[in-house]
């Protein structure tokens, strides 16, 4: 059901990821300021962008679920949020490494994007306890969807608030993520972003397929058990 076109997608992901890594290490110029450390930018920033888009996409799928009542949309929303949280933890880890290397501290509170990200990840971590403490399947799907929608709307608001709070005490010029990126860096960054997005979609499909298969297996097992009870 979910595995259609999976193999070409996986191949495309591997090729793009390999190309992106090659570009990062052999093509993109060294940053004049930060040197080699800056290359973590090509992992950290695409991961952050993809993970945030994943959270918002989870919210949109949740809206689809509530409108259509089709529980497969809830499953899609759940898996999207699940993978976004994993990427989100990766973003926090790579962000901390980058901060340590370039500013000398593992955590920097005046970096608004990183701080907002922490708040968002903390919020989404509650998705699991919320989801799995509701037994009734249909209600579980409904409540999780409501959470996904509320949290999806919260993401941009939170970013605005944290950015305003930091800009208030630390006026910042646009950093190297801004428009002043040289051409080679920009190309590498875009390819890395594409690779990360493809990786997200591949993992999402893989997880959906495996969830679907294990659910079918459970259903078949239950049927078998029922039949055995009847025959004995």
């Amino acid at each position: 059901m979910y595995s259609k076109g999976f193999v070409p997608l996986a191949i495309a992901t591997v090729v793009t990821l390999a190309t992106a890594m090659g570009l990062v290490f052999f093509y993109a110029p060294l940053d004049a300021d930060q040197g080699f450390v800056q290359k973590i930018f090509y992992v950290h920033v695409p991961m952050a962008i993809v993970s945030l888009c994943g959270f918002v996409a989870g919210g949109v799928m949740a809206i689809k679920h509530l409108r259509s009542g089709d529980s497969s949309w809830d499953m899609r929303s759940y898996v999207a949020i699940h993978i976004s949280i994993i990427l989100g933890v990766g973003v926090l880890a790579t962000g901390a490494i980058w901060a340590k290397a370039s500013w000398g501290h593992w955590w920097v509170w005046d970096e608004p994007v990183l701080v907002s990200f922490l708040v968002v990840v903390l919020l989404y971590c509650v998705y699991y306890p919320l989801r799995f403490s509701i037994e009734d399947r249909e209600r579980q799907a409904r409540y999780s969807s409501v959470f996904a929608i509320a949290a999806g709307a919260f993401v941009p608001l939170n970013f605005a608030a944290v950015r305003m709070a930091e800009a208030y005490t630390h006026p910042r010029v646009l950093s190297q993520t801004g428009g002043s990126m040289p051409g080679e860096m920009r190309l590498t960054f875009l390819i890395s972003l594409l690779a990360m997005a493809l990786l997200f979609v591949t993992l999402w499909k893989l997880e959906l397929t495996s969830k679907h298969a294990s659910m079918q297996l459970k259903r078949l097992k239950r049927k078998l058990a029922e039949r055995e009870v009847v025959t004995t």
Binding site: L66, V119, V126, L130, S133, R139, R142, Y143, V146, V162
Partner: protein
Amino acid sequence: MIAAAGAILRKDLRLELRTKESVPAMTLFTLTVYVLFHFGLDRDSLDGELAAGVLWVTLLLAAVIGVSRLFAAEREQGGIDALLLAPVDRTSLFLAKGAALFLFLVAVEVVAVPAFGLLLLGPGLGGALPELLLILALGDIGIAAVGALVAALAAETRARELIAPLLLLPLLVPVLIACAQATEPFLRPDQGPEDLGRWLTLLTLYDVVFVLLSVAVFDYLLED
């Protein structure tokens, strides 16, 4: 819809007046937290950023208590089934619960904010009362909207005492930022508004988004 919301709200307020369960507990809690902050920070009087932070963190923590008790009466006595069976729009239930929480918060703040001025605050509170009231009101609307939504979300889960605060506090981070930053200039010895419009805009935006969002999704909660 408004009539039904009014009826539920009146029921909640009457219940609160008779049992005196949430508001006294929340008020007592704020006073306890002030004492904790006094010893934890080892300071006799606060001003500026520290004062604004202590005040708003205390109010948010008190709101957590209110939120976790918001559906308690219905759940414990089984009244929720009657409410759900009644031919009433879920939106009116949300409006009533949000309004109840808002009024609870206002009642708590009537005591908690002057008490803060007396116990911990160095400079006086009187200088900027209208602005402070506006910030409190906008902050309370945001807390009430998110609180009613979270209370309904957590009401049907097994570990609701755990989930309600864990959901509520990250969702309220923008409210904390805006309220604390807006209040901070008024709590300094040299009082004066600073960037007030910006924070009030953010608070208003937050309130509008979460009230509309809650109204939109509340229908899907507490369905059966």
